[in-house]
Symmetry: D3
Subunit: 314 residues, 6 copies
């Protein structure tokens, strides 16, 4: 059976989908409508539900699976669904909401294995123990959470996927520049965004938590390292621990991007650049996949609002 | 007896002073000289020691008390000492180096008392216990350290003095705006710069420590709060604790100034402004005291390189 | 009787209110509607009037008092009025429009008395005479005008209220830093925004005047001082007068904020910081009062578009 | 007889010159020297006077005419004088210091005539009367002062020369765009920098005055217009007067450059651009005239530190 | 017969107009409408076509001439057309679409003649041959194309008109500063925007071409000069050719505006300033002509979003 | 025999070295001295030659090989040479100057082979032919030139070395993101800095050429591609050629860094990031190699003036 993003224009369809967002707005005639974003594993599509009653607004809220009858249309160049009928799905017919979410393209088990193997390459015992300790503590969240609310890697397991890709890049780069301390770079990559499991609310209807807004994921990881040192009886002022804390605190590269310190050791600078490279690639690929060759993508917020051209003949 | 900054121009003198800085430079004739900054409790003054031998360079290093014979001169508008003779002082004749350092204008005991009293006005029990715990742990350093290597409050007990003045301002401001949570503001003021006791090396020949450079005093306080919560069995995710951590992390006001988050609660914004006000006042007063009325001060680095006019007839 | 901002959600009501704004817009069906902002002394609330005829558009214009029958609703988190019936009020039943305007929380007489008393603390005779002269000349406007069209202190007597609060802060700060020239600071505070009585059109439906847009309130005060000097036969080049002019011209702190010169005397820097502090407090308080504890305020334009968290459990 | 800037490299010479600057500095051997800038009508040249006694420092101060025996050398690409002998000149042998100053390339009388003629083209009676009144009041200074302490037009009569050139450009531009109000543009050009006669100390050893630093020449002109209105009984709030004040206040174009308002009428924008054009041309020409074709000029501070290439074969 | 921008408010009319833009949007009731911009030689006016069928959307596309029956209205201060009836025009009754386009106010022939004459004033043979060669090659486009898609000179022949006005300004400026190389300035002016004939798609429904977006008109001219050198056997590394290439590459003045190098020769700086002056004048005039005296223009994007006041009494 | 950078502190030595720079300066005693930078394949070291005669200044110019007797010292943390004796070397005893230059750590032949092999992976025939054509044309320079005058890769064969490393990184990255067009990325990498063979004067005493300053290496490559298209009869407007030109023009990433367009295709963004990564690594490694572990490097200009910490215990 076809999925949401595989439908042809004007094709009628009936399928189970997840309500990702359900914004209630008021039409100019004074009546309310719901601006839905529906989702299945193929991606998302928007659709409007006119003249919504208060009861319907409560019934069709984000996170629910629904049975949607509709027609796939185009509006101002963007795909859209004309809603013909909509009803809540029963769990027995539709399964768990998580089945409808976009997921990382690598299997969770594969990522677990790959990260697990990498731990053997972290030779400094302090770093190795701290990374193992924290990965163990937040294992479930680390492999379930997205890496962001929107922008790049905003899908289930996005955090682990982002980390895995960065590790692969890191290994390739270490091969070119043997002066880099590989253990430090890998430890930094694995920990750098771990604070997002505290900063974000979870893989569904992802929001920022209070501590996410008021402290932020960079400092949250640093605190976790501090606490891990207490638990593991590691001196947090030892040079190697200071350097590891610096890695995570500096990884946004610039003060303006929320790092309280700029990279001051070589591996911190490279961690920042690898992070940037993978985030840029994900944002470009997400947009390019939704764009016809020969056209420009929408403007990408995280890339300074640039739109990118997708060549057609090369 | 006169002190360093009380000498008249062209006055000859002999006195014990502390070597605050001793930079070795090479003259254009290929010989080395030492650019000294001498200090006593009245302030600092520069002087050059020509044709320094390697032995003299080693002998006259920063932190030593010396017996200086010289003449007070002026060079390009700045006071300067012409060194006539220089020898190391013996401890029995000159006393401890710390006797020669610039100090906060309020006595240490008075500040201890004032801060101690303020603790009773921090009514929230989490904040009260955390502040007491950390103040207790770093008591000696807190009342000895400067608030900076240079710029504002760069003298012994400068940190406590800066904190005390800010508390006084905070109390006056709370009176005008009763909506402010006084407990939170006072807790924030006391903790905001406490990380400097880890960021800086101490009251003499103050330098940045490694962890000071790579982590910075804002995050260092936050870590201390985290550890205090563990020790005191306080939930670090409780709203009031999150808000306290936010106070210290946000107190530089702007990301560009090294805060990983901008102030997002009212008291954090006001803490930042009080900090700014007291720092500006100290920098202006330090420069103005060294300037003849009717003239302009030197450019003040921490105030965007502005020079200030000192009126003479008002 | 309840006021506008005291109504419960879904409560029906009938009351006299002032039309603060009445923007005519076109609905997507091609018909016009009026987007009203209604006001009484408790605050403002929005409501839409659909299918407005040209006659109704003319009848219900800003500044009119109306008798409004409606229901208090919520729309996207913001309070809103559903208009059931609307008619113009007669003066005899509803009184003057000014009765419905938001006002400073201190009585006008109290502020007059407080400012009046402060004049005795301005000891420099030039400053004292200039301040008295200008305060006398613009007395009515000074105590009636808002301090802005929007942003902070945008209500009747807002200018005097802003000035009064700044004087109180100023007095508290002078106590901490006795080196500040109190006379100069108070004179500067009283005059700094006086140009707004020329820059703005008045307390109702406040707009910028032409000279407000093309010259601005900073230079407008300076001109008034210049003219006062002519009238009072005070030499405008005397150091104390130059310094007073500098206070008002420099009080925005940065060239980017419209000051033709940056603060170059200590009291000018402090005037700027006090102004900033009071403006920030007013903007935060206005937003926080309209926000449920545990939520974030709307973004505040005048504070770099930050939204603030309102703690609920502290 | 040759002038300063006409000497060949290594040419020995004896001539009367003016001391433009005489900075006393300390050599690395602890002895003082004077860094002179000598001047005659052909331009300026630097030279160092080693081992200066206190008496010599007092004798050879800026503003004095001296008889200089020396040799013209080159040092790091810049012309320089090796001082062989130096003595004060007597007035009877050397004449007035002003004879040695760089001057505008147009005669003062010619500029007076040209500006005088332009007054007849200012048809609006308010503008015409205000301009005549102020030009009359500051006539002597207007035709004697430089337009700056350094940067562009920093020579005697530079202010009038800058104004005259701008008027010529203005007239050419008005011909291309007849929609421009010529009267307003010319009135704005004549007044725009008139405040410099108060901002600067005079044509010799030019410094900023206190009111120049604390108020600035833009506001100083505006005040003069305000006072002129009082004297001439012109309503300063009349639209045409407001617009004229705006012209002078806005002529720096950007807030960052010290204008309290940005240009908001067409003629104010053009006044700013003409000012910019003439200033750029003067700075480039001054540097280019001192550069060998085929080389680059020194970096020009007022043009964002760019250096310019001087083509040799075109 | 009256033209579009000559109609009185509420006047009914019937006339042939060109569809300049036809944006399809969805109304809040779920039905599509077309937001038209109609155009004739007097200017443009907007109008909405409600409940558009797919067939109508296809029929009334940009570039078509239509017979429009309507009424001239005002909506939120902007002129607007209420569409009563609309049909496609036949070529025989309405003529070519180009007859309805806004045009430069100087005749094409006149501009050709003026530019042609200027070629005789380009005395350097390399520059003369290159300019003639390229002008010859792109003659048709040069005199037909606009200078932009929107902003300034966005009308037929706008490119040639912009060039012609700049030449006139250039000649006036050369007269004031004889040190400028007139040949170079004129050659630079003629070539500076020639790349727009490759960057833009043409005078109707102007869009950026792919090479326009990915290379840009500055580099496109430079490439044309390079190829011209090959064809004319001129050494592209000769100083005069390098300098000419620099003129076109540097004419945006700042790197932020897309010049790969900043002006480093005097004539390049002046070319940039003349370009800026003419563009500013055109943007201001376009807005001012649509504004009632005594009002402010809309915000002008190309002038940092400033709105300009149009005086009424001067 | 030991090389320059292998000497111990205070070690006396005699060896042949190359004069890399020889700046003549004037000492404060009025006598000239030469500030030398000596070089051999191990790196560079500074040394001063006091009281230089004009003849010596001419004799010891940059590019000459000399026989240097000296002592290795330290001055303010930087290595330095005390010159004891200096004489020109004869070619027969010292060999060619190029033997003393710092070189890329990979052999030229190896790089030629590696780049040569990569050509087979450029599958698009246009790109393949253009790259081969240009590489062939500038082969000698491409493998001899540095990649910069200073900053990163400022040594012989630096350009080819930088290109080779980037190709290796590019290949690793393509493996992680198969959506990248490998042919395009490799073609872009090889060509991106090729313009430096025109922008710079050569491997010895490297300076910017006139066309380097006035046009810049980005546009210079683009012109070369344009001319190659003419020679190879490839349509320069074909999409693949436009995209290739875009790669080289956009590779500085930001307009502020001199790219006339920002990256608008995915491979252009990645080319920019790879370039940035390799340049950062080179700059950090160069500084770190000259720094004792446990210390900070000097500030690195090309990395926003940051200094980096070199850990000692990890």
């Amino acid at each position: 059976m076809k999925k949401l993003r595989e439908l042809a224009v004007d094709e009628a369809f009936q399928m189970f989908v997840l309500i990702k967002n359900a914004d209630v707005r008021m039409a100019k005639n004074g009546k309310k409508f719901i601006a839905f974003t529906f989702q299945d594993t193929s991606g998302t599509i928007d659709g409007k539900f006119w003249d919504a009653s208060d009861e319907e607004i409560q019934r069709f809220e984000a996170g629910k699976v629904v049975f949607l009858s509709g027609k796939r249309e185009v509006y101002q160049g963007n795909p859209q669904v004309k809603i013909i009928q909509l009803r809540l799905a029963k769990t027995e017919e539709a399964g768990d909401p998580s089945l409808y979410m976009e997921r990382a393209p690598i299997k969770k088990e594969e990522m677990e294995e790959e990260i697990s193997q990498t731990l053997f390459e972290i030779l400094n015992p302090h770093w190795n123990r701290i990374v193992r300790y924290l990965l163990n503590q937040y294992k479930k969240e680390f492999f379930d959470y997205p890496a962001a609310k929107r922008n790049h890697h905003a899908f289930a397991s996005g955090l682990a996927y982002h980390t895995t890709t960065m590790l692969r890049l890191g290994k390739a780069i270490v091969k070119e520049y043997p002066e880099l301390n590989a253990s430090l770079l890998y430890a930094g990559i694995i920990l750098h965004d771990l604070g997002k499991v505290i900063e974000l609310s979870g893989p569904m209807s992802t929001e920022y938590t209070l501590v996410g807004n008021l402290v932020g994921h960079l400092v949250l990881v640093d605190e976790e390292i501090t606490k891990a040192c207490l638990a593991l009886k590691i001196d947090e002022q030892a040079e190697d621990v200071v350097v590891l804390r610096h890695m995570v605190l500096a990884h946004h590269g610039l003060l303006e991007y929320g790092s309280p310190v700029r990279p001051r050791i070589m591996e911190a600078e490279i961690l920042h650049q690898i992070d940037n490279l993978d985030a840029s690639m994900q944002m470009m690929l997400t947009s390019i996949r939704q764009t016809t060759p020969g056209e420009y993508t929408d403007r990408i917020f995280g890339l300074d609002n640039r739109s990118f051209y997708v060549p057609k003949e090369i």
